[in-house]
């Protein structure tokens, strides 16, 4: 039996680790992560910035990158990586997590940093994720030499909107980092667990029939989840009933929008900022935003911004500016959280040219429109309670605006589930909740039922007479029903596929977050907008020695492991089984 439950929030911009001793009276603690803060200087911080810097050969004084557990690390990770990356962005890997779910590039290939000059050894998004996870593991073992990481119960959170391939890549990164078999948990659920952990009386705050909306605004992603409260044999039960689509839009985008606006104002005074000065401006705008958007009425009308001179002339080169409350309100509240009607829809995603490799950022920054769409797709859901999470909500006016918009859609205002320790929790709740869930798995706590948050399909070409120049239309066969729970499996004996031995067979793979009632085996004649194509999946059947067989008839089987991983298998009539793998290599051509 493991001694600790360890929850890891592998974030787009910051990672965190929380832990709890498994036992009767367990409480969750935040782990302070040792990392380089400056050359030669180690500090233990609450967060590990998810940044990786590839140092040049003579860039730092010899030995100044040493970690307590490694004399010559190949990369700089964490706070110092982020700092140095401001001065030398071409060697900085950031937002690696967002690349794991990228449809247009293979996350196992060395892609990052995108703009690295010739000669800089690039790393893959997968490798970067592994480096962050490995750093957390080694920092843990350095602080707790008596409790080896592999012996603990480890949970890693992912956005609820991560598809099966992105979840599997996260698991693979953990495997490469020398983790034990990890459990994957969705971030909004983890945020909700953190709330439960803070409120032992939670059963008095929610009731059967309630519907809880979790809005998790991370640094780089925004995630929506609905959890319904039901009753079974007198016990309250929680079930995750819907998750939103992948939305690459988070708190960092909001801070950046304010900083870009401020930069424009400096530009009007003919002041051009370099990368370091802009970074300083960005930090100042982040802090100014929190002051200007504080919920109390006494928030000041503006905040000063100071850009110090470069070079040794500090006072002489100092440029002053300011940013007003009205500007920030316009930029953030009206830009990202506009007041919209319940039937608002975000602007359609532009189709990105296949030759362009980059992140697929949300094309409409209006979070409230995405929220309206999410609730509409979830069957016009009307939540009764709301839990908000994410560092950007430290600006009270944003929280206020979300409620204002949401309540205008509802008959009765939604209640806020507030954490007792709100300020600090906004940045740490996900890791805390994951550690708490680990306890629940060992019998000390409540679990949210949920299962797979999507319906999955394989593509089947119709056997229509070929029309020259037109590909045969695709149909979609349901293979995984929405909500398939951990530890269960689904077989499709009625449909056989003939696979040729010795050649990789490929299936096109689709999913939907909104079609919740397609039963396994159900065939969709026409693939509509509510279904998106994922990376293809493939399987290779090795030839059996001495056997003349050329073609093997197989049926499909799906199961969801206890750790929440989706697996697809081909099963032959004689019982032989082959696992289908996500073919991330083919994504670029998808």
């Amino acid at each position: 039996m493991p001694q600790y439950s360890i929850g890891i929030d592998l974030g787009t911009t910051n990672s965190a680790l929380a832990y709890a001793e498994i036992g009767e009276t367990s409480s969750v603690h935040q782990f302070s992560i040792s990392q380089l803060t400056n050359p030669g200087e180690i500090g233990a911080l609450d967060l590990l910035p998810s940044f990786l810097y590839i140092p040049g050969e003579r860039e730092f004084v010899e030995g100044s990158l040493a970690l307590p557990w490694q004399a010559n690390p190949p990369y700089v990770i964490g706070r110092m990586a982020r700092q140095r990356g401001v001065e030398n962005a071409n060697r900085l890997v950031s937002s690696a997590k967002s690349w794991l779910s990228n449809q247009f590039a293979d996350p196992t290939q060395p892609l990052l940093p995108l703009a690295a000059p010739e000669g800089v050894p690039k790393v893959s998004p997968l490798e970067a994720s592994r480096q962050f996870l490995e750093h957390l593991k080694l920092a843990w073992e350095n602080a707790n030499p008596d409790s080896k990481f592999v012996d603990q119960s480890v949970l890693i959170t992912v956005p609820a909107s991560f598809d099966a391939a992105a979840r599997q890549l996260t698991q693979r990164a953990a495997e490469m980092a020398g983790y034990p078999e990890v459990t994957i948990l969705e971030e909004p659920q983890a945020a909700f667990y953190a709330w439960i952990e803070r409120h032992p009386d939670w059963r008095e705050q929610v009731h059967p029939g309630d519907l809880i909306l979790v809005v998790d605004i991370g640094g780089g992603t925004t995630d929506f989840t609905l959890i319904s409260v039901t009753e079974k044999a007198g016990e309250l039960q929680l079930e995750r009933v819907a998750v939103g689509q992948h939305l690459l839009l988070g708190g960092d985008n909001m801070d950046l929008a304010v900083a870009r606006f401020a930069e424009q104002q400096f530009a009007q005074k003919n002041v051009k900022l370099d990368a370091l000065q802009f970074h300083s401006l960005w930090q100042q705008c982040r802090a100014a935003k929190e002051v200007l958007l504080a919920s109390d009425e006494n928030a000041p009308a503006d905040q000063p911004l100071t850009i110090l001179g470069r070079g040794t002339g500090l006072v002489g080169g100092t440029i002053r500016g300011k940013i007003s409350r009205d500007d920030v309100r316009t930029l953030l509240l009206d830009g990202f959280f506009p007041v919209v009607a319940v039937d608002a829809m975000p602007q359609k995603q532009r189709r990105i040219a296949l030759t362009e490799v980059g992140l697929n950022y949300a094309s409409d920054p209006a979070v409230t429109k995405h929220l309206a769409r999410f609730l509409a797709l979830a069957g016009n859901a009307r939540p009764t309670h709301v839990l908000l999470n994410g560092g950007v909500l430290q600006a009270g006016a944003i929280e206020h605006r979300i409620f204002e918009v949401l309540n205008s859609w509802l008959d009765a205002p939604a209640k806020e589930l507030r954490s007792n320790a709100k300020e600090s929790d906004l940045m740490h709740a996900v890791a805390r909740g994951a550690a708490y869930y680990g306890l629940a798995k060992h019998g000390n706590g409540v679990r949210i039922r949920g299962g797979v948050p999507r319906t999955y399909y394989v593509g089947i070409e119709s056997t229509m007479p070929a029309v020259p120049g037109l590909p045969a239309p695709m149909k979609a066969l349901t293979v995984v029903p929405f909500g398939l729970e951990e530890g269960s499996k689904v077989q499709l004996p009625q449909r056989r596929f003939a696979l040729i031995v010795g050649e990789p067979a490929e299936f096109r793979f689709f999913s939907s977050v909104s079609r919740k009632h397609d039963e396994p085996g159900f065939l969709i004649e026409e693939i509509g907008d509510d279904i998106e194509e994922l990376a293809p999946i493939e399987v290779s059947l090795p030839a059996r020695e001495g056997s003349p067989e050329q073609v093997v008839p197989v049926t499909l089987e799906t199961n969801v492991t206890e750790t929440g991983m989706l697996e697809l298998w081909c099963v032959a009539t004689d019982g032989r089984r082959w696992k289908l793998e996500f073919n991330v290599r083919e994504r670029a051509a998808a």
Partner: protein
């Protein structure tokens, strides 16, 4: 070693080269054996290194040296104020991270502060000013300044960093 061969070798060595062969000199106590090779000593930490390192840190985190070395006579108070406000926050954060500072006497400035009148106070901790009796023993007085004491200093190991390099020059490559 036979005594005859040693005697001969010594005789001829002194006759032709003026010194005893090394092995014989050691054997008969005329010379000390060469010390076994020792590992090169780690670089000595000189007393000034910690001070230089502190300057390095304050410059890096808050650009304090830039500020102190700049001629600010011609700038307006507004301009200086804007720069200092930003520098002050960084400098203070950096200083408190590496040095724990406490008041020498935890009293309210401007009010009466009792002292131990049985002996003159430790001059490291208390400086008496004004109408001080010859014995230096006083029951107390008005606290004019609480004083400062560094209760702990926490500087990272220097390693191979050159402590005199307060701040490297920066070259931006286009």
């Amino acid at each position: 070693m036979s005594r005859i061969s040693s005697a001969f070798r010594s005789f001829f060595a002194i006759l032709f080269s003026g010194t005893l062969p090394e092995d014989i000199a050691v054997e008969f106590g005329y010379a000390k054996p060469a010390p076994p090779p020792v590992a090169p000593e780690p670089p000595k930490i000189k007393p000034a290194d910690g001070a230089l390192q502190m300057l390095q840190i304050l410059q890096r985190d808050s650009r304090l040296i830039d500020f102190l070395m700049e001629d600010i006579a011609s700038y307006s108070d507004d301009q200086i104020g804007a720069a200092v406000r930003s520098l002050h926050a960084d400098c203070r954060a950096s200083l408190t991270r590496h040095v724990t500072l406490e008041a020498m006497l935890d009293g309210v400035e401007g009010t009466y502060q009792k002292l131990d009148s049985s002996k003159a106070p430790d001059p490291n901790r208390v400086k008496l000013i004004g109408n001080v009796p010859a014995s230096g023993k006083v029951p107390g007085g008005t606290l004019r300044h609480r004083g400062w004491s560094a209760s702990s200093v926490n500087l990272p190991p220097l390693g191979k960093q050159d402590p005199t390099a307060i701040s490297p020059a920066e070259i931006e490559v286009d």
